[in-house]
Symmetry: C2
Subunit: 219 residues, 2 copies
DNA sequence: GTGCGTATACTCGTCGGCGAGTAACGCGAG
DNA sequence: CTCGCGTTACTCGCCGACGAGTATACGCAC
């Protein structure tokens, strides 16, 4: 289960997958990744790039090929992927596709502190986010429509995944918004009262102090 | 849009939300969070805890109350939330609930490097993950069933969100698996051939070299 | 009552992440 | 032909994340 990667940063996965095609220097890897459209999956931090490539080399997953300097430009070090690097890439892909450890999206964190806001405001905020999700959906659909004809479907799979997840999120948010807005959410009155008066119900106090186990084991 | 948080780590959100109830020392915050069941959202790294609390204090979101030592135990520093801290908590919650910047789940990264594996293996791996997702669903359902009676629904919202997302993921994975397993995915033959012979199609080579813009602007 | 395992409550050091800075080149405008 | 601004290609350095280490206290067996 998810053995510790020598280079854990997901950008390293991107690097490995581009440099698998042909030897490159770091900057080239980044532009290739970008040109590919993968900046979305593993966002490129220019600062990290060289750290990551350096670490990959240190661990024998990449190796330095040449260190040419054209003119008096800064030196460009070209790297090639090693057999070990290729193995790591494959093994990592296997892990990512087969393991489902729970993720912690930021929105989920927001949901878990819902109660610090009042119900009415929550509805407003969720509506804003719903609109934003709608825009993301449009964007993903646009991307599919644009590239669908030219690019094999295999390479657009992540976008299809995005779409599926975004639509699910949209549906879920809609039903939650409706429940709150129409007053059907159980406990809504206590929530509103707590928020207006700042008063903490006995229930909440109890919850706050209890330290029993809940949903999910500590790692 | 997502102004830079003085303390960006999501654990800080957890800390703020617990210490909002009453002053505590760091270790107590962590156990409260755990007892609450929030270790799932913002997983607790013991090393980070003190860094995070320290940073919150440094930025005036928490303040030191007393530094009692009971017996000859290590000194316990108790912190209280400041008005600024409370404001940050509320503002942060607002942001998390209203903004939808795209997340980058690990699975999505795996999908984006699908092609380094062969279709048959991909099916096997996805089936494994499908089973794992099923177990996660069961777990979330169990948690809902267990706590539903005792805990107000408001505090279980994240679990409902988990469930919705997990089910969507399950459905999407099923349909992808079927498409590949039943040979309905377009481009499947090229994919298989590429994987068996190691040969790169002209299409892929072209894709690899092109550096045109795609889906998503660089930040 | 003494030994030992476990919970409590931190401290420290390292390593990676990443923003900001730098420097050479190339080109288009005037 | 030269100014300057965008692109290429990196380097530097801080600071935050977190694993591992540490030290006390408490409970319980024998």
């Amino acid at each position: 289960m998810a053995k510790r990667r020598r280079v854990a940063n997901l950008m390293a996965l991107g690097v490995l997958s581009t440099v698998a095609f042909r030897p490159m220097h770091p900057y080239e890897m980044a532009t290739a990744l970008r040109g590919w459209g993968k900046e979305r999956d593993l966002q490129i931090k220019w600062g990290s790039l060289y750290t990551v490539v350096g670490n990959l080399a240190k661990h024998g997953l990449l190796e330095e090929v040449e260190s040419s300097r054209a003119g008096r430009r800064p030196e460009r070090t070209v790297y090639r992927i090693t057999d070990e690097g290729r193995a790591e890439l494959v093994d990592w892909a296997r892990e990512l596709l087969s393991v489902a450890e729970p993720e912690l999206p930021r929105f989920r964190a927001g949901l878990s502190v819902l109660a610090v806001l009042g119900p009415d405001e929550v509805v407003t905020l969720l509506r804003q986010r719903l609109a934003a999700v709608g825009r993301e959906i449009a964007r993903a659909e646009g991307a599919l429509a644009e590239h669908g004809p030219r690019v094999p479907r295999l390479f657009l799979i992540e976008i299809e995944y995005d779409l599926a997840m975004l639509r699910a999120e949209q549906a879920w948010m809609r039903s939650l918004i409706d429940e709150i807005a129409e007053g059907r959410l159980p406990g809504l009155d206590e929530w509103r009262k707590h928020h207006e008066t700042g008063e903490i119900t006995a229930e909440m106090r109890e919850l706050a102090d209890r330290s029993s186990e809940q949903y999910g084991k500590p790692e």
